[in-house]
């Protein structure tokens, strides 16, 4: 039976949202947030915000695109909230922060060359098949979790949301030079973690 659509907007059908989009939105959230509970909450909040804003829906985008844009905003807000929270637990976040000296020499013949123990090694398995992708996602989440929160916010916004550096700097309130240092250090740390846990030869 066809459910009648919402009265004041012929293009939205909230009573079908869960059947039509819950899985899609949940997948979107879990691939970016990786914590099931948080992902579920974001989907719920997305539907509630959408209901509140349904009179503003102009029908310019499809219902699905519109819902995804609301969810995307919530994902970014969560990254931002996590990034800011580090200031209240500064020491905890400091302990996650692997020093540059872990990767590059600070003195010697040529300062700034790779340390022997952490220099890039040969990688195996640079192509995850679909079956492995869930496993890879878990390792990725594990490694992201070991970054300081503000770094994982920057890293996720860049690599998962594929936002530009200028957007990320604005959203997370960081300077461009700070941004590049975070990108560098987060990449070093993620590379090392993935090497140990996924690409080990």
């Amino acid at each position: 039976m066809e459910t009648p659509v919402a009265q004041n907007n012929s293009k939205l059908a909230p009573e079908k949202w869960v059947d039509n989009y819950a899985d899609y939105l949940y997948s979107y959230a879990i691939s970016r947030i990786s914590k099931e509970e948080e992902a579920r909450d974001l989907v719920q909040e997305t539907f509630l915000s959408a209901l509140k804003a349904k009179d503003n829906f102009k029908g310019e985008a499809s219902e699905k695109t519109w819902l995804v844009s609301i969810l995307k905003r919530k994902v970014i807000d969560l990254y931002r909230k996590n990034a800011v929270r580090k200031e209240t637990s500064f020491e905890e976040s400091e302990s996650y922060k692997v020093a540059y000296g872990h990767y590059f020499t600070e003195e010697g013949f040529i300062p700034g060359e790779w340390q022997k123990q952490t220099a890039p090694k040969q990688w195996n398995g640079g192509n995850a098949t679909n079956i492995e992708q869930n496993e890879f996602r878990k390792i990725l989440a594990f490694c992201l979790d070991k970054l300081p929160k503000s770094w994982s916010a920057v890293f996720s916004m860049k690599h998962m949301e594929e936002e530009s550096s200028s957007t990320i700097c604005k959203e997370l309130n960081i300077t461009p030079s700070n941004y590049w240092v975070i990108i560098h250090r987060a990449k070093l740390q993620m590379r090392e973690c993935l090497e140990k846990n996924w690409f080990k030869a």
């Binding site: 919402a6 909230p14 009573e15 949202w17 869960v18 059947d19 819950a22 899985d23 949940y26 997948s27 979107y28 879990i30 691939s31 970016r32 579920r40 989907v43 719920q44 539907f47 509630l48 209901l51 540059y100 990767y103 590059f104 013949f109 040529i110 300062p111 700034g112 060359e113 790779w114 220099a119 890039p120 090694k121 040969q122 990688w123 640079g126 995850a128 679909n130 992708q133 890879f136 996602r137 990725l140 860049k158 690599h159 998962m160 594929e162 530009s164 550096s165 590049w180 240092v181 990108i183 560098h184 990449k187 070093l188 993620m190 590379r191 993935l194 090497e195 690409f199």
Partner: protein
């Protein structure tokens, strides 16, 4: 770094053209996103990566990571379980009836 590489490195340093691995990887990531650097930075970075096997590996790994992460994000297909969906349906319906 082999002793031969060290000599090349030392020579390049003496003419102000080489970078250390730390600088080279930093610039490499900047280039990945911005697509361009200043002429001098780009020349020095490329030169360094040509002669340094670890930085070459880093460049390769960085590209693999970028690709695998975006593929993983795009391919995510996780179903929400039915009880959760039912809760959401009830929530939506009760909100709809309020209006």
């Amino acid at each position: 770094m082999s002793s031969e590489e060290k000599h090349i490195h030392y020579f390049a340093n003496s003419i102000g053209w080489n970078l250390c691995c730390k600088q080279a990887t930093y610039l490499l990531l900047k280039k990945e996103e911005l697509k361009k650097l200043s002429f001098k930075e780009e020349a020095a970075m490329k030169f360094h990566i040509t002669i340094c096997k670890f930085c070459r590996a880093f460049k390769k790994h960085s590209a693999i990571m970028n690709r695998m992460i975006s593929e993983t994000v795009l391919a995510a297909e996780t179903k929400m379980n039915e009880p959760e969906k039912n809760k959401l349906k009830l929530l939506i319906n009760s909100n709809l009836n309020k209006n």
